[in-house]
């Protein structure tokens, strides 16, 4: 691991100032410390933001406000989250392991990097790690890569389960930046790779995630994850779905550089009953834009089947 200077942020403003000056924020460290060991990340200045007072879960008018330093395990087991946002609790518990969830923070979960094997291997080219060096995944190992929204420069997927649930819930991220506080909707925090895959999100240097806001409860919601083993594996594919009286919101994981909001499917289902025909039509509408790679075409019928099964379970 390369040498770095370490400090603990005294308050959020000091962290933001350090970040704007080139420092990297440390949350639970479950991804960043690993990337530092691999040489993928080499911060020269690390600012620990895990002890900032952003560790509460509080009720707001109609929703919940979750501090960015809340640990994934604590969010997953919180009674109000389990009762009102089952999709979020299920997504968190489908991710990582018990001991990782005890360390990992909510803010850090959103900002974790892709697990593309080329990104994590400094001996290989990777446009995300080293812009302009190329993307070996396009013609190499890409069974678990994107089928939607990818570019010639990057076919990586976003690894977070939690972010997929938050995209379906329509959560909002509170950010404190050098110019002050602002909010960003979760489908909109992460960006498609385009020709700048080095940027996972729309955040700028110094932007510190301070909280996540959840809107109205989503009691009829579910997270379904498909993986290569029964537990403790990243998603091959996942579906988060929230059913409301006149609306269905759907997000897919494991298919894109972002938690993929299935807007085409939602449009097909708007105002309709969740009949088997409507659900199948919605799945087909969403997946008509899929451009699978050589070895991951199986994800298209897999996504269709998981979408149909998940939505069918939520149908009245």
């Amino acid at each position: 691991m390369k040498a770095f200077a370490f400090e603990r942020a005294s308050d959020a403003a000091a962290a933001v100032a350090a970040g704007a000056d080139g420092a990297t924020f440390l949350g639970g460290g479950t991804n960043l410390v690993d990337l530092m060991k691999l040489g993928v990340a080499a911060p020269t200045r690390l600012v620990d933001v895990s002890r900032l007072p952003h560790d509460g879960i509080e009720e707001t008018a109609g929703g919940l406000r979750i501090g960015a330093a809340v640990r994934n395990a604590d969010l997953a087991s919180h009674p109000l989250v389990r009762e009102r946002y089952p999709v979020l609790s299920e997504a968190l518990l489908a991710g990582a392991s018990g001991q990782l969830r005890n360390l990992a923070t909510v803010g850090g979960n959103l900002l974790q990097r892709t697990r593309c094997s080329y990104f994590q291997d400094v001996t290989k080219p990777c446009n995300k790690r080293e812009p302009g060096s190329g993307c070996p995944a396009r013609d190499g190992e890409h069974r678990n890569h994107a089928i939607l929204g990818h570019s010639e420069h990057c076919v990586a997927t976003h690894p977070s389960d939690m972010a997929v649930a938050l995209a379906a819930i329509e959560a909002t991220v509170e950010v404190l930046g050098p110019a002050g506080p602002r909010t960003i909707p979760i489908p909109g925090l992460h960006r498609l790779p385009g020709d700048k895959p080095q940027h996972d999100t729309v955040l700028n240097p110094g932007d510190l995630i301070t909280a996540i806001e959840l809107g109205g409860p989503a009691p009829r919601s579910v997270y379904r994850k498909v993986r290569d083993r029964a537990s403790f594996a990243f998603a091959v594919l996942s579906v988060a779905a929230v059913v409301e009286p006149a609306d269905v919101r759907i997000a897919l994981g494991g298919v894109a550089h972002v938690p993929w909001r299935a807007e085409q499917a939602e449009a097909v289902l708007r105002g309709r009953e969740l009949s088997p025909e409507a659900i199948a039509e919605a799945a087909d509408a969403e997946l008509s834009a899929a451009i699978p790679l050589r070895d991951n075409a199986f994800k298209v019928p897999l996504a269709r089947n998981v979408l149909i099964r998940t939505l069918s379970e939520l149908a009245p």
Partner: protein, 156 residues
Amino acid sequence: MDAEISLRINGTEHELTVDVRTTLLDLLREHLHLTGAKKGCDHGQCGACTILIDGRRANSCLALAVAHDGSELTTVEGLAQGDELHPLQAAFIERDAFQCGYCTPGQLCSAVGMIEEANAEGAVLDAPAIRERMSGNVCRCGAYPNIVAAVADTIA
């Protein structure tokens, strides 16, 4: 860069000077010669390094020591009371819940934390729940059936 930190480890206070790159796992093993926590993958994927940080199970290989200044750690060396084994340790022996033993310290610490978590949630720990909640601890000898049985014995 070095930093001064204090940790309470298995009931003993330690004032330490560490390079800020040092993980808790390397601090325990290389500096304090507490070699119970094992280095398996060193990337948070195997669970052999699992310890309890302030009572909660965590992968010590991904925890920078400096970030856990002031914490209380329990390693496998701190589970027994003198010569009296922790009930989980006794159950692992009774059930023959290991072969090579390399993953066992992590399995034990993880199970201690896991049972606490389940109790706090009021969750029932049947065999599928134990398997799911212990999935962060890999056993390459494949002693899983007996590990599950040992954990279940302890809860019963």
